[in-house]
Amino acid sequence: MADRTDQRRDSIVLIVNDVTHEFGIGDHRYQVAACDTLAKTLRETLGLSGTKVGCNQGACGSCTVLLDGIPILSCMTLTVECDGKQITTIEGLQNKETGKLDEIQQAFIDHSAFQCGFCTPGIIMASRALLNKNPSPTETDIKDALSGHFCRCISHYQVVEALQTITEKKKK
């Protein structure tokens, strides 16, 4: 049986959607193994299955979450290397008190900016990071920011339209 520990520590802390979780490092249920990806921890250990794993090779963008505000691929990130980090997933975008959806989530509903929906959480997370950094992106900015996101149904046009509506509303 191979070793699944981290030699330097026996636990880590993740702050996921503003909730702090402490995990032992190891092989038991509710622990995090050294080889666990962040996507696996989020989905299987924390039950946050809104983060989707499409290719599991870092090429499709569907597992995108925010790590200290920056969009990263959770399938290519080891959980043990996220100690002390703030992680935001699709489940963390809604206003916790009011239940109000994030403006991007609402715009995606209004524009039916999805078909099968499997890529949608990743695209919304990358869009959130984009708008946080640049509240009025151009069409090219939007397309570049989402260029690592695979959508096989081709909802791209409706996604771009939804995001543009948000930025146009703000301009007014």
Partner: protein, 757 residues
């Protein structure tokens, strides 16, 4: 053109019913489903393209941590899938690199993976064959004893005894004799592209008794895993439930392999077992497009009349066939919709080879046949200097014209004349200005050559097969639709709610649809062949009408009026003209009752749909790079049900192994070892946000009289005209006849004489 009346919901953009779940991450896909006591199944796969298992030792794997079952060909159930039945759960013979050799069920995925490494297998390697014409030679390696020459039978039992497998009509020799222009050659569309939904296939199976199986799966048509699999598994009672499906494009209609694996492992462990393929397995051991090669001859007259089409269609299905025969039948039918011709002689061979199998993919035979044949047809148009728009317009099936469909029967189109849609599309695109003649670019900017092309396609499966539905009126003025309809991205579950809400004049939020579960719903064939709007829609609408009729019958005494004089809106029943004197449904139905109507749609192959696609491409003649600049689709749907859903289906033509199979999409098979080399999403090419073409849809709404809301679907067909249209555009851009798909830089530079391959 808008002739239809204004509706409350139909034709208006309304949010998808599942929108909130999707955007919040709550939508439940197969990987998200966890059942108590559930095990995880993994598959050991063959390193060889063709071989016999001489020895297999599973003892170490069986003793591996957390392992609950290890299955090999020696101890799997005697189930067989495929057409005809020829694919076992596991076989002693492996037929492609990645073919299943053994199955493991364990407490966790990691444990199952660890155990796979402990299975020891000795193989006797056999020679393999990958090329369709090599495979039918007399000395070729044989994949199956029952298919000598690697030739598979062409019958499709559910299509009836006369399944279409050839088109032999009139007299082709006479036709060629009367032709002004004749072209002959071989066209090949063999990139065996992957429809590649983002979510890989997955199934969970659980036996609740020796003969009672429940299957959860990511599928686009929930019922297939019951009605197709029943006979293949010895008639257990199968309940199938579809989870939210992360894309399908045909491919996940049917997940026979994962289903077999999960069901076999579940049977031997008596626990639920989940088998979700990895992306690599999705590439290497799940559905590809058919390989298509057409060798033949086309003759036309100066005025664009098609005089004769003759040839042999060689169809490569890979290691086995689930639905290749059905795709051949439909493809041959679709070719006749596109080309009006009196003299035909097309014969088909279906061939198995040592690669991952082809399966169901959007385009379903027609895309494959047309993409191979049109490059030959193009040469006749080139000889005659005939504008392809005029040609296709003239030859697309018109009302009153006939064709032989998949069942081998002759059908006459009762659909509409699509000429206007075609013309409007050409106008939107600016075809008249851009078309400069064959092999002539429409613009030249330094090393960049711009070219235009066009393709058409249609399908009479809009009315295929059977749909049944119940519509239940509840006393609280809500409505439940019982129909076995999955959600894999089309939004059809929401659109059906719209049709029922419209019919019953109820707010949309009061109408819901049951989960796609075969136990609680009547039969529905599924969302295939663009049948959702016309076939499923007609079934739910007639169930709603039936329920309404019953409601009015019940209200007869309450309102002291004849049912014919009654109407209902927003949950009130009233005498027509007196909406203010109505009574609520609950007073009519009663609190402890419901009022249920039934509807059924019976097959009708007389309403072909239509799509034309105009494309503009740019080729850099110094690098050979082909870029897609613009796409215009043209169609006539009778009545739009949900604008964004329709737009999504049409935009989808650049996904799911559609247009881009002419540009960069292909599965790369190593011709020496049989390995699929690009089974990852870096090496398998797909279109990103950064390179979207300008895209316009020209959608006409000429009512189709046989649907309550005058609508027919076009979702399935949108990918099909794309590849040949791009092929045409690229040829025109560079001024050379090109060859093969996809038109990657090597092919273009070779055609330009810049390199020798």
């Amino acid at each position: 053109m808008k002739i239809t009346k204004d509706y409350r919901f139909i034709g208006k953009a309304t949010p998808r019913k599942d929108a909130a779940e999707i955007v919040t991450g709550k939508a439940t896909y197969i990987e998200d489903v966890e059942l108590p006591r559930m095990l995880h199944g993994k598959v050991l796969r063959s390193p060889y393209p063709h071989g016999l298992i001489k020895k297999i030792d599973t003892s170490r794997a069986e003793n591996s941590r957390g392992v609950r079952a290890v299955l090999t060909y020696k101890n799997v159930p005697e189930w067989k899938t495929g057409t005809p039945r020829h694919v076992r759960v596991l076989d002693k013979k492996v037929k492609f690199v990645g073919d299943a050799v053994a199955l493991v069920a364990a407490e966790t995925e990691e444990m199952a993976m660890d155990a796979l490494a402990h299975i020891e297998v000795e193989y006797e390697q056999l020679p393999a064959v990958y090329d369709v014409e090599q495979a039918i030679k007399s000395d070729a390696p044989q994949l199956y004893d029952e298919f000598p020459g690697n030739l598979m039978p062409l019958d499709v039992p559910v299509f009836g005894p006369r399944t279409l497998s050839s088109i032999v009509l009139g007299d082709v020799e006479k036709g060629f004799g009367a032709s002004d222009f004749i072209a002959e050659g071989t066209g090949s569309y063999e990139n065996i592209a992957n429809p590649l939904p983002l979510e890989p296939p997955g199934v969970i199976a659980e036996w609740s008794g020796p003969n009672s199986l429940t299957v959860w799966s990511a599928t686009q048509s929930a019922s297939w895993h019951r009605f197709i699999m029943l006979s293949k598994m010895g008639f257990p009672d199968i309940r199938t439930i579809s989870t939210q499906c992360g894309g399908s494009f045909g491919s996940k209609n049917y997940s026979a392999q994962p289903m077999f694996y999960a069901a076999a492992l579940a049977k031997s462990t008596d626990r639920p077992v989940k088998v979700c393929f990895s992306k690599e397995e999705h590439f290497g051991a799940f559905v590809l497009r058919l390989g298509s090669r057409f060798r033949g001859k086309v003759g036309i007259k100066k005025d664009g009349t098609v005089m004769a089409v003759q040839g042999e269609w060689l169809v490569d299905t890979g290691a086995f066939s689930d639905m290749a025969q059905a795709q051949i039948a439909v493809g041959l039918g679709e070719l006749q919709l596109m080309l009006k011709c009196a003299n035909w002689d097309i014969n088909t061979k279906l061939v198995c080879t040592n690669r991952n199998a082809s399966g169901v993919v959007r385009g379903f035979g027609g895309q494959e046949l047309e993409s191979a044949l049109i490059p030959i047809l193009m040469q006749t148009l080139e000889q005659g200097n005939i504008d392809p728009v005029e040609f296709f317009k003239k030859n697309y099936v018109k009302p009153g014209q006939g064709y032989y469909w998949r069942d081998g029967n002759h059908w006459v189109s009762k659909s509409k004349d699509y000429t206007e849609a075609f013309e409007r599309g050409a106008q939107t695109f600016g075809w008249a200005e851009k078309w400069k003649g064959w092999l002539k670019p429409s613009a030249v900017n330094n090393s960049k050559r711009v070219g235009v092309g066009v393709g058409v396609h249609g399908n009479a499966d809009v009315g295929e097969d059977v749909s049944e539905a119940y519509v239940r009126l509840n006393p609280d003025a809500t409505v439940t639709i019982h129909a076995c309809v999955a959600e894999s991205g089309m939004g059809q579950r929401s659109s059906l709610c719209k049709m029922v809400a419209e019919t019953l004049k109820l707010p949309l939020e009061r109408v819901n649809i049951t989960p796609p579960d075969s136990l609680i719903n009547p039969f529905d064939f599924g969302l295939v062949g663009s049948r959702g709007t016309y076939a499923v829609g007609s079934a739910v609408i007639s169930a709603a009408e039936d329920a309404k009729e019953k409601l009015f019958k019940m209200a007869e005494d309450v309102l002291e009026a004849a049912p014919d004089d009654l109407d209902s809106e927003d949950g009130m029943v009233f005498v027509k003209g007196s909406p203010d004197k109505g009574v609520p449904w609950r007073s009519v139905i009663g609190l402890m009752h419901t009022c249920t109507g039934f509807g059924r749609f019976e097959p009708d192959y007389s309403v072909p749909n239509f799509i034309a696609m105009f494309v503009e491409v740019e080729v850099d003649v110094e690098t050979g790079k082909l870029d897609l600049l613009r796409v215009v689709t043209a169609t006539d749907v009778g009545q739009i049900i949900d604008p964004p859903s329709l737009a999504g289906q049409l935009h989808g033509s650049i996904g799911s192994a559609g247009i881009d199979t002419a540009i960069f999409e292909e599965s790369v098979l190593d011709g020496n070892s049989g390995h699929m080399l690009n089974l990852n999403m870096m090496d398998y090419k797909w279109r990103s946000f950064a390179e979207l073409p300008r895209f316009d849809n020209t959608i006409l709404e000429t009512p189709i009289q046989t649907h309550r809301y005058k609508a027919i679907g076009v979702g399935e067909v949108s990918t099909s005209p794309g590849p040949s249209a791009v092929f045409m555009a690229a040829s025109n851009a560079v001024g050379k006849r090109l060859e093969g798909y996809p038109l990657t830089p090597d092919k273009i530079l070779e055609a330009l004489g810049k390199i020798n391959l």
